[in-house]
Amino acid sequence: METDRPDGRTPNQLRPLAYSCSILHRAHGSASWAQGETKVLAAVYGPKAGTKKNENPEKASIEVIWKPKTGQIGKMEKEYEMILKRTLESICIRTIYPNTTTSVIVQVVHDDGALLPCAINAACAALVDAGIPLKHLAVAICCSVTDSGCIILDPTKDEEERSLQVGSEPMENGIMTSVTQGAMSVNDYLHCLERGRAACASLSEFVRKNIGTKSTSEPSKAG
């Protein structure tokens, strides 16, 4: 029995993706990423001189600032900042620029579910736009388990009751970041992983096609 979704999508269907880069002039790299109504704008500054708090003599530091659409920065924003920071640290080659700090500012334009994967995708695209050396790209997807046990991809705000957000590297299909909300069985989690990997593969194709087009035509601002 197929689950009917309010916007008419099949369980495996993503919302329409929209991606653009180099939209901010002052930032060294910037990108906007939208999945359906959820939209995130990311800007990258750096590598620049490190502050005393963040400076590391062997590696570049990464600082993430998360700006919500409304209200003050609370515990949820702090958690998102930490997750993003550690995810981006995993994909950057940090030994090239020791004693520097790279700032990634994430601005939430609208939140209609699957916000953290959208932010991860936007931040990775902004890093590419800034010319920061990366080991590999990270692609993120959100899965949701409905009450009837059906697994759906890329949930909207209403569908996001029990969600699992997986950031993975499609080349090796390993999991870089995983965050869950709500209770589910272990088998449901493993099924979500399989669905997430397949969706990340198609997302990765989308990213490589768009970023490849951009990077061959314009030089990097950070250079």
Binding site: G74, K75, M76, K78, E79, M82, I83, K85, R86, T87, L88, E89, S90, L164, G167, S168, E169, E172, N173, G174, I175, M176, T177, S178, V179, T180, Q181, G182, A183, M184, S185, V186, D188, Y189, L190, L193
Partner: protein, 307 residues
């Protein structure tokens, strides 16, 4: 002859310490190759765990938990409040996690530690996701107080968790501490005084009881967690602070006593987690859940005997 032996022993010990300080990753990998850790534990074993209930007499519920050197103290206060319009028949539960400067050399007075709001958010999400507490049980409307139908009040649980010693696996110790304090929690008796306000029963005249006596909170399935480090092909359970700072990929898995997955938290890190590694971690966590549940049950039984 004796003097030269003593100086040799001293110099070799200094060399080991210098090697550990200068090349910490290689020092640990030498131990990992032998399937052991520098403190003598096998890779999949957690540190010694102890739970002590009722550490704070002025609180409605409290618990002190130690995992190895990591120490967490939890105290719970209950107040009567007006429930929100969205859920008028439910109480609420608020959790705060504090890292005072006493717990770690990297925590400074004034600004809260970087990890503090993250662990706090994780704890709130975990306890609400597991549905361990029925918030409707905290409501004071209806039931035996049917004669005061206009009454609109509910209990609010405020839980403060203090980290006294931060030696790795902070979330694990904080969650056990929170769960133990909630199992120790006694809901106080309240009454309505002459002014029509709800107050705690203090033996004064003129108070009409709303609920008659103290009672325990009903806990449904209880969540427990285990943090593992993934490093190359190794999985290390329950890391210390030194291990956490050297090997950077952490996975925290929360299962409840009915076997459901409450949370799987892997915030980045250089090592990629594959399905086989996740299944191994879930297996280790399953064993840990049984172990911790027996500790908690034993401690609660001891408390009941004393009372």
């Amino acid at each position: 002859m004796g003097l030269s032996n003593a100086s040799e022993d001293l110099s070799s010990e200094m060399e080991v310490d210098a090697f550990r300080r200068l090349f910490p990753l290689r020092y640990f990998e030498r131990h990992l190759a032998e399937s052991i850790r520098p403190d003598g534990r096998p890779l999949g074993k957690a540190r010694e765990t102890s739970i002590f209930l009722g550490a704070v007499a002025s609180a409605n519920g409290s618990a002190l938990v130690k995992i190895g050197s990591t120490t967490m103290l939890t105290a719970i206060k209950m107040e009567v409040m007006t429930p929100s319009l969205e859920s008028p028949d439910e109480g609420c539960l608020a959790i705060d996690f504090h890292m005072p400067p006493i717990c770690s050399p990297i925590v400074r007075p004034g600004r809260p530690a970087e990890a503090s709001p993250v662990v706090s958010k994780q704890l709130s999400d975990t306890i609400s996701s597991s549905r361990m507490i029925d918030l409707k049980e905290l409501s004071l409307v209806g039931g035996k107080a049917a004669w005061m139908a206009y009454l609109n009040a509910a209990f609010s649980i405020m839980q403060d968790i203090y980290c006294l010693d931060a030696d790795g696996a902070l979330f694990d110790a904080a969650l056990i501490s929170a769960v133990a304090a909630l199992s120790h929690l006694q809901i106080p008796a309240v009454a309505m005084n002459d002014d029509g306000k709800i107050v705690l029963v203090s033996g004064e005249d003129g108070q009409k009881p709303v609920n008659k006596e103290k009672r325990k909170l009903t806990l449904r399935s209880i969540p427990f967690s285990l943090t593992c480090i993934l490093h190359k092909n190794y999985i290390l359970a329950d890391p210390t602070a030194e291990e956490e700072s050297i090997m950077e990929t952490h996975v925290t898995i929360v299962l409840d006593t009915s076997g459901q997955l409450i949370s799987l938290y892997k915030p980045g890190g250089p090592a990629l987690a594959y399905t086989s590694a996740i299944q191994d971690c879930v297996g280790l966590t399953g064993q840990r859940v049984k172990e911790l549940k027996s500790y908690l049950d034993k401690e609660n039984s001891a408390m009941e005997v004393v009372v």
